[in-house]
Symmetry: C2
């Protein structure tokens, strides 16, 4: 329901509201969802704020902010539920809040929570639950008359979703018929639709990604910014990345990287390939029927002071010969311009048909 | 139970026993499983044989061969159950046969079939059902003291499993402590263990592959031949392929290719990369912590007369500079020799520790 406020989020971020990695769902929804986040629950940081939203210690205190919907605002590695969370979830359900959950463990499959939700007439929405009827791609990904950009990256949790959101916002500001295509739980929480491609049966990864770009086009997107997942270089999640690349069939990539990182986070001693190697690898692995170039680099420089950030951006541009910027910190114009130029150079007009 | 015959297979291959692609489970089990296949049911080819096993028209006729276990011997694209098959399955269950099924649709989840099986005291084994407790890789794949070879390929259904089986057989003939590591439904039916990696939640692809090589080593394998899946070049299944590559962490690849093929089967106009491009792509995408070379090419030449097959093998070797052979048709020695040489060159003795 665009334009109408239907939800007020209570964000559950116990012990993690200060953690930029595990709190990425919380931060993503606070910043980008059309519905407001009104309160965060984290007993380790009461009295603080998270991106301007007050943090309180308990669900009982949070009810004073009149939330309608609790959102599990943390992602744990592999997606399992910390057991202590059950009490928080039960408190939310008993207070009459719907619950949205982006972990691999589904609330709706938990008999106790499902029964409690039914008794209190609230909805449990498992954002990662795959839709019915997934299958392999049918070729529509190569047929829809949309221009498709996919954010890819050197690692997880470095800003691929945020870059896609910023590019989509900037494109719409310019009046372009752009749609953000969500492929993970936070993107789904933000946009209100999508499929968490990391949660589908592996055989149907590319088929799910195809379905998403087709749906993005059906929603009016002639320009699609698809949220990337994982990294071709990631020892755990690379399969998801490649399935998404081949199923979403982008015309261009935007390569995201956290400035200065040299190892996969959480996988010590797994080195990141160089930016030049990553550019080449993505361009080589694109479908021969849908050759794709890296249009630009999106550097995450949030941890650097401004002069260092500017220098890191200049160095990345020099290393790769590609336009580079931090679209979250310095605005998305440079990267969007590069994407539009690359699309123009790459998509034959008769294929895009607009 | 190695060494003891516990099962006699009735292979259900309705309408597909003559089809080399969709009948690959049937053929794999007939050729490589330690337990015998005694009869094939296919009403379109009664009186014929499939690799020496008699084909009959009905389950009733097949019972004369005293089977103990019915096996769904066809793979359909995407893995769904043809509805007409229900009657065949019910006939098997009512005749007191256990049923093994490798499709994505699980027999055990079908209330009618599950109830029937319980009533007739037979077991429904869904070979693709993922085990409980899958997770992301923990790094054991890089720590076990085993030498790991993975078959990869230019397409699906070109012989990656068969090549791994033949290499394992030849290695064991030479007295090497080799184990075949099954990663798909047919491999599982043949070996009696394994995980169908294409059926796990996409986030846990690499974790499932890691678990398989760890298990292969636990079963005594100091040399592991891991069954490959899909292809990095496949528009539907490439994600499975890359997850398997990063999770199994092979020291060497064996690159399989059907001689003469230039397009992905079932995806018309999707061109195959050249063999040289495929060699380079696999070597580039291997984990930096586990660099892997392509040791040899395994060409599937079953459709060529012998002189043409020999010429295709020589041409592939000349194109890539790698040893090449058809290990199924001409014996696995050449390819196994190349694998062992590559492992020797690649694995530092202290890492392999034997």
């Amino acid at each position: 329901m665009p334009g109408t406020v239907t939800k007020r989020y209570l964000i559950l971020a116990e012990g993690r509201s200060g953690d930029p990695h595990y709190g990425k769902t919380a931060r993503g929804v606070i910043r980008y969802a059309p519905d407001p986040a009104v309160v965060v629950v984290d007993s380790t940081r009461p009295g603080e704020t998270l991106d301007g939203v007050p943090v309180v210690a308990t669900v009982a205190e949070a009810l004073g902010y009149e939330p309608t919907t609790a959102l599990v605002g943390v992602a744990t590695q592999g997606g399992r539920f910390p057991p202590a969370w059950r009490e928080l979830l039960k408190a939310c359900i008993e207070a009459g809040l719907d619950v949205e959950n982006g972990l691999h463990e589904f609330l709706g499959d938990d008999p106790e929570l499902a029964e409690l939700a039914s008794r209190h007439d609230v909805e449990l929405r498992d954002l990662r639950r795959p839709p019915e009827g997934l299958d392999v791609p049918k070729g529509e990904n190569l047929q829809i008359p949309a221009q498709i950009a996919l954010t890819v990256g050197s690692d997880c949790a470095i800003g691929k979703k945020t870059v896609a959101l910023e590019l989509d916002l900037e494109a719409r500001r310019r009046g372009l018929p752009s749609v953000f295509v969500p492929t993970g739980q936070t993107g789904i929480a933000i946009a209100g639709w999508g499929i968490a491609v990391d949660a589908v049966v592996a055989d149907f990864l590319a088929g799910a990604a195809e379905r998403l770009v087709v749906e993005g086009h059906r929603r009016g997107g002639e320009l699609l910014f698809v949220e990337g997942q994982g990294s071709l270089a990631h020892p755990a999640y690379s399969g998801v990345t490649l399935g998404l690349i081949h199923g979403a069939a982008p015309h261009v990539f935007v390569l995201c990287h956290r400035a200065g990182s040299t190892e996969i986070e959480g996988y010590p001693s797994h080195p990141l390939p160089s930016l030049t190697q990553l550019v080449e690898l993505h361009e080589r692995i694109a479908l021969p029927l849908r050759p794709a170039r890296v249009a630009a680099l999106a550097l995450n420089t949030a941890h650097l002071e401004e002069s260092h950030a500017r220098r890191a951006i200049a160095e990345a541009a020099a290393e790769t010969g590609l336009p580079a910027d931090d679209p979250v910190r310095f605005g998305a114009s440079t990267v969007l311009d590069a994407v539009l130029r690359a699309l123009e150079a790459q998509v034959p007009p008769q294929a895009a048909d607009h």
